[in-house]
Point group: C2
Chain length 159, copies 2
């Protein structure tokens, strides 16, 4: 299979991207770099891609497990090198799930399956940059929380 | 430095991303994967990030060289593995530039500088996946074209 995108210069540093699935988005640089912040930075989209890929996997796997998810937020934080090309040197993903009867074991298993088997963006980036993956689970928005970290190298929990 | 993004589940497989620079975008899965194609796929954003990062570098470097660019399009094509996690196994970028007096040597130098020194997304992905980078240059939209490939390992042309 293949993916295709096309980007066209609008003006300044602003580029308009069109994706093969029919969507359009603007990108722009900061004022410091000749842009006017009319859209996100390219490096932000790397984090959006990584976080959304994992989140879509996890929500899909949990639904197959009949685990109800009432709210789900994923944050991604990337630290960059101080020298050019200022690539990411460490990324942290945090999955924050709310659901009345979410099992921590199932959440851990869903996250691990995404990391080890399903997420094409994780598979692409993981050899290039350390990615720490954590989770926080609540029964209700202000309920008791359980939390932890999932490591790629740990054995996958039994279903 | 650091980048931060947060994604929130809207409904179905649709996630709303908010970036640290203040922008919002939707992501969604295809109908096959439980979504309704309300936004681009995570894997498409990887190509958008790579293409826009390179294009911003190249247009910025060419402007510093006093090279006028009247139109600029970048296309990115990614081939994926057939097996899960279906990661990219090959990416091709094509820079298509139009300008009345664009020097091929300057365009090659700008592209090479982006690949070797400035583009954080290229630096992140290049160790993980082969990325072929080509260019096409025209004086006018229907003018004579020169084209070629720029390789990371080639010596950088003298300024």
């Amino acid at each position: 299979m293949a993916r295709d995108v096309t980007l066209t210069l609008d003006e300044g540093m602003r580029f308009r991207a069109r994706t093969g699935t029919g969507h359009e988005l603007l990108l722009d640089a900061s004022g410091d770099a000749g842009g006017v912040n009319a859209g996100p930075r390219p490096t932000e989209l790397v984090l959006v891609a990584l976080g959304s890929c994992g989140a879509m996997d996890v929500v899909s796997i949990l639904r197959k497990m009949r685990q109800e998810v009432t709210a789900y937020e994923v944050s991604a934080h990337g630290e960059t090198a101080s020298e050019h090309p200022k690539r990411y040197v460490r990324i942290e993903l945090v999955h924050r799930l709310t659901g009345p009867a979410l099992s921590e074991a199932n959440v851990r298993r869903a996250i691990h399956l995404s990391m080890s088997r399903y997420c094409p963006v994780f598979a692409l980036l993981a050899p290039a940059v350390p990615i720490a993956v954590r989770y926080e689970i609540r029964e209700t928005a202000d309920g008791i929380m359980s939390s932890g970290e999932v490591r790629l190298e740990e054995a996958e929990a039994a279903p």
